[in-house]
């Protein structure tokens, strides 16, 4: 899913870099208000978790594309859309600078697909599903699963759009094939992502519901959320 240098041409990469920069600036403005003593360590952990999870790469040999888990839905559920998008973006920036995962010149494209499109699609679905579905662990699990699945497929189609706009090699009529391959491959990855997201979020929601941003922001519980526990546990 990480686009490496040279796959998309320069002008299109520059346009998406400008778009990503503007979107991230907006997220920074909105995210600042969210980032309190509870969210700061959570944002760090979510980013670390996504970083670790993105190391698992599934090469899709037939098409020559690779895919991996994205984590946008997990971030949106646990730290909200603004800080969530920033978490994914930070992961992508560090990967590009240090590990060479995804070209530095293609960062705008990668951030647009994975951090912005992925997280936005996930959060819109979460906001919708949490209102519609029953307020049970099963409802939350379904929300997490569906939003993760859809966000991965949406992000993969972002790449198809960018390739259509500025792919360096003309695939002719094969663009539809590329879209299909990406969609099917990422549907499979999305199922894995959905399962991991659902398990993680449901476990966290059972033990520390106050940590799940989506539950705090969208459900307005009657009881105020408990304060941050004091440090110094026995473990």
């Amino acid at each position: 899913m990480h686009i490496s240098n040279g796959i998309i041409d320069g002008p299109v990469a520059a346009i998406f870099a400008a778009f990503a920069l503007a979107a991230l600036a907006f997220c920074v403005l909105r995210g600042r208000a969210d980032l309190d003593d509870r969210l700061a360590p959570m944002a760090g952990l979510v980013a670390a978790f996504i970083f670790a999870v993105q190391m698992l790469n599934f090469p899709i040999f037939t098409a020559g594309v690779s895919g991996h888990l994205l984590g946008g839905a997990l971030a949106a559920l646990l730290v909200g859309p603004w800080v969530g998008a920033l978490c994914v973006a930070v992961v992508l920036v560090v990967q590009a600078l240090v590990f060479g995962d995804g070209g530095v010149a293609m960062l705008g494209l990668n951030i647009t697909n994975m951090a912005i499109l992925g997280t936005a699609a996930a959060y819109l679905l979460i906001a919708l599903l949490l209102r519609v579905l029953p307020r049970t662990p099963a409802g939350l699990a379904v929300t997490a699963f569906v939003s993760a699945l859809v966000s991965v497929v949406v992000a993969s189609q972002g790449f198809v759009l960018q390739y259509w706009l500025g792919g360096t090699t003309d695939l002719g009529g094969n663009l539809g094939g590329l879209a299909g391959t990406m969609a099917v491959a990422h549907l499979l990855i999305g199922i894995g992502e959905g399962l991991i997201t659902a398990t993680t979020v449901v476990t966290v929601a059972k033990v520390r519901p106050d940590l799940v941003y989506a539950l705090r922001a969208l459900k307005k519980p009657a009881v105020p959320a408990p304060a941050v526990p004091v440090a110094g546990g026995a473990r």
């Binding site: 990480h2 490496s4 003593d37 980013a47 670390a48 090469p59 992961v91 240090v98 360096t168 993680t200």
Partner: protein
């Protein structure tokens, strides 16, 4: 816990490249990559020039070719796409070893492989000469919004927490009679991923609160920020690499 962990790719050395301030190296690396990407793909000689530049910096940084090339294999899954292009591309075709390949596709594959590899090598050189702590410091000095550097700081810190917690949970499973081998341990891991996240969060939250109670306000201490900020001379020294790359790119564009 504490600083000093997580330098997986860092190569300890006192070379001139290591001693350059991080913000200078980040800027040089990004500009170099942009110049490489802007080069037209038919200008083969230009990519040779960039490769020589990378070799020169690697030699200056005392990073061995074996380490560099071994680590560059990480790129492989990301450029697999390139190998499909000669088959998928359209237009004029040539026969190579009995295969009908698209000329445009071959150009495209070279384009992706050359630009991708040069980008990866540049990132690896940055990683080999800069600790993760310095990297964030550099981003901070480049006026990166504090919320981003804060997330990045915690991300790198908590990676260790996450790995440590996963190791402890695996040990607990093994000592209770689980016998994980190769891929099958994924099942046990998947079942415990929620618990892992929660345990890592609670440990991470204690780390955070300990930092807050020692005066952390979202930014690393001022001692780190002020000391060793880049001088004009250092900027000038590091600027040679992107300057050469930019002139190669400009020449390639003009000669096209």
């Amino acid at each position: 816990m504490g600083a000093g962990h997580g330098h997986v790719l860092y190569r300890e050395s006192g070379s001139p490249v290591h001693r350059l301030p991080p913000e200078v190296k980040i800027t040089a690396m990004v500009l170099f990559t942009v110049a490489v990407v802007a080069t037209p793909r038919e200008a083969y000689w230009a990519f040779g020039g960039y490769a020589l530049l990378v070799v020169a910096v690697a030699a200056l940084a005392r990073v061995g070719p074996r380490w560099l090339l071994g680590r560059a294999l990480i790129e492989l899954p990301f450029v697999l796409f390139a190998f499909a292009l000669p088959f998928l591309g359209t237009g004029e075709r040539v026969g190579v070893a009995g295969l009908s390949l698209s000329v445009d596709g071959l150009h495209g594959a070279f384009n992706i492989l050359a630009k991708g590899t040069l980008g990866v090598l540049a990132s690896l050189l940055l990683a080999a000469t800069t600790t993760t702590r310095d990297l964030i410091l550099g981003l901070d000095r480049l006026r990166c919004p504090q919320i981003l550097t804060q997330i990045a700081t915690f991300m790198l810190r908590y990676l260790e927490v996450l790995v440590g917690e996963a190791r402890r949970m695996r040990l607990a499973r093994v000592s209770r009679g689980d016998d994980p081998r190769f891929l099958w341990q994924l099942r046990g891991f998947a079942a415990g991923v929620g618990a892992l996240f929660l345990r890592a969060f609670e440990r991470g939250e204690r780390v955070y609160l300990a930092m807050v109670s020692r005066g952390y306000t979202g930014r690393m201490p001022a001692v780190w920020q002020g000391a060793g900020a880049a001088t004009a001379g250092q900027w000038a020294v590091a600027a040679t690499v992107p300057a050469i790359a930019a002139s190669i790119a400009a020449a390639a564009l003009v000669l096209q």
